[in-house]
Amino acid sequence: MASEVEKKAVFDTESAKEVVKELRASFVAGKTKSYEWRVAQLKALLKMMEENEPQIAAALRDDLSKPELESYIYEIAMLKNSCRLALKEMKHWIMPEKAKTSLTTFPSSAEIVSEPLGVVLVISAWNYPFLLSLDPVVGAIAAGNAIVLKPSEIAPATASLLAKLVANYLDSSCIKVVEGAVSETSALLEQKWDKIFYTGNGRVARIVMAAAAKHLTPVALELGGKSPVIVDSGINLQVSIVLILPHVCFLCDLHADILICVFQVATRRIIAGKWGCNNGQACISPDYIITTTDYAPKLLDSFKHELERFYGKNPLESKDLSRIVNSNHFARLSKLLDEDKVSGKIVQGGERDKTNLKIAPTILLDVPLDSLIMNEEIFGPLLPIIMVDKVEDSFDVINSSGTKPLAAYLFTNNKKLKEKFVAKVSAGGLVVNDTTVHVAEHTLPFGGVGDSGMGVYHGKFSFDAFSHKKAVLYRGFACDAFVRYPPYTRGKLRLLQALLGGSLLSIIRALLGWS
């Protein structure tokens, strides 16, 4: 019996055209516009997560060796939150917003109506393959669009799982997953979309925007950059007093009534944002640190101490760290470490395990600003510390790169320094005395500026990202400003001047012929 190799159907331009055609027909038929449909899809997403948590975590483990709890906390729980928020708030979001009207259009009333854009394309990234695929989809559903999702091929287990789950749980006449790599993505990008939402890197973002330009398709680009952390001296001696009740003390495995623990809070927060977020492979991970020459040794000690507490003496064996996603990125990161001017600067870590694609949390001190590691987004477990004389010099270091990052962080107690930071550093988002937390807050728009991206989402901003805000103006026939029409006269000019000047008094004067 001859074995037949089943060839998967090639997804080319024709296939892409067919998909868009089908979705457009669904959209035009009004399927996605109904409130009930949107609610049903969001509820189905929640159900999908409830019933498939182990499978999702397993796929993330396959793709990234992501610790189960990171999978839960940063991917599944955050997505559940998005769904729940949309279900709760959608009816408010959908309501038209009343707008005031002024004298120039008197009498009139106006409102701004949110309507779906139509058929949208969501292209997601490999580092949070579940969240970054479905979080934009939640916004697109809430806004009433038909959707094609193209998950990243660099996280194949998750992509494949998403294709299966979306087909089983969501309305496939309106929401589809297309798996594939460069050629499939290119086929999709040739089509006319009503919006493209892309998460990834700047190089591909340029390709996406250029493709969108051909059809005048608006885009949202969630990119990255080198997110700096400025650490001012003295903050690490902060004591964080935490009330711990029985059954709780995870550190010392004791039962205690009240325990006051002294934590090196700033360091822990930086570690959580760096190695605790997919082992540094996150767009908002702290990329590098800037601190004063005097303070650097203290900071380094604190890091060494806390890293051991988190990941043990052999971090390559810790189950709580993601691996490097694939050998390409492993080679890329190795190259950053092996550069001559940098290899001697490693002060912590540096161990690598090529077979298992693991790199230990690595800290470098005083790398040259023109090294490779300081000129591309690291996206890995390497943390350079740059030293300056005065902490205020950090702003120049950040701004000299000429690009604006997705996030910037400052640890300090100095109020003036905080104000200077907010005034001088431009980034998608800033956090003082913590890292990455702003991503979980739905009242904050999440997005970049300049090279770190354009457009925002999360919470209601997701709904807005996939909506068209249509202005609607209602006028009556009762008053007609005859001044608008020819024949044009000096008198009409005077009245127009008064009308557009907005002053009631001058209008009266003009009407009476007194001006």
Partner: protein
Amino acid sequence: MDKFMIDLETDLEVMRECCRSGKTKEASWRRSQLKGLQTFLKENEVEILRALREDLGKHYVEAFRDEVGLIKKSLNLALKDLQKWMSSREAKLPMIALLSHAELVPEPLGLVLVISPWNFPLALSLEPLLGAIAAGNAVVLKPSEMAPACSSLLFNTLPNYLDNETIKVIEGGPAVGEQLLLKKWDKIFFTGSARVGRIVMSAAAKHLTPVTLELGGKCPAVLDSLSWSWDKEVAVNRIIGAKYGSCAGQACISVDYLLVEKAFSSAVVELMKVLIKKMYRDNPLESQSVGRIVNKHHFLRLKNLLTDKMVKDSIVYGGSMDEDSLFIEPTILVDPPRDSTIMTEEIFGPLLPIITLDKIEDSIDFINARPKPLAIYAFTKNEAFRRRMVSQTSSGAVVFNDAIIQYAADTIPFGGIGESGIGNYHGKFSFDTFSHYKAVVRRSFLTDFWFRFPPWNNYKLELFETAYNYDYFGMLLVILGLKRSRRRFDVR
């Protein structure tokens, strides 16, 4: 061209340095520039109106109504509300984020490029310019070479009123535009045709520059049967004003074509003829109550629209053209073939096709079968029809019982969708379009979610789940050990 590029780069570097140093961020700088614009308008009103008449044959009242007056209004608003627009907005945080504080801080994007068109050469240059200034940006303005008197006025006179280190006017045509598009901008604001809009966005893509594109389209007017003769007259006046009275129909928001019910159409045409005569008198060219066509190229383009025999036969009023004075009289056509060029391309001129339908409700399908326009104008008192018009069509804006006037409203966004554009502006929307809203979170060291950190265990997972649900009571139960994790998390 090389010298141009070298000089340009030097100038742009100076402008970027001003942005970096925070010069343009200062409220005082913004105010002084906006006031400078006000003074420019005040002291040069006569020259401006003259330039508009020279470029487009606009009567000075039309020029004031559509350009000078509107910019004055926008400047007044920007100066009045600047402080409010510039201030940070607090963002609510949930209780669990105790002792944290979050706000949205607007900041300028940096160095922006504004490219404006020829039909409202003053208004469409200064409206985006003032928005960019209010938002604290340095600006390069390239007005259209097809309105040379205005372009020259802006190039020669405007700099006397503004800070030349941070705001520049550059004159030129497509070649200059191309050179400008090679540079890296923090934002490009383009008003013009969809064809050039694509070129602008493609160039912007190379630098990941965000764009606002104010394009056009065929803006339909839908005229329902109205019982009161007063209403009918007002409606028709507004339609013909919006067609012929604003730059002779060469406006992105002009009424492009009109949809009426068959039964009603001849009455409409008759009423139109009467009101056109009343408004524009016997010699609209002499009274300048209808502007002229901008140049020979567009004149011939419009002339060609009428060469098709079937289109020509559908003319019921007007149709005469004078190539020397580039004047076309207000023209009405009834039911030209739907696939003729006049019905498939944006007309941008004083020719009004009227398409008759069996029922007025058919207008919705008619509109939806075509690209999304910048505006839809529906003249109707029928509530149900209005609701359908809003919910079943898509356009930049919908205006009921009037046309063009939405441009003057600064509390609603002005912009397109699909082929009619990306982004919007006017009023505070102008400020927003040239700003980046930076999220700023301040946390305290005193409180911490200690369960954020590894080493991981199921207990922390349970705490996270309750935290994400803002289930404070549940959190307490977990802490007290009264709630066990129902999940045995062990992925092998």
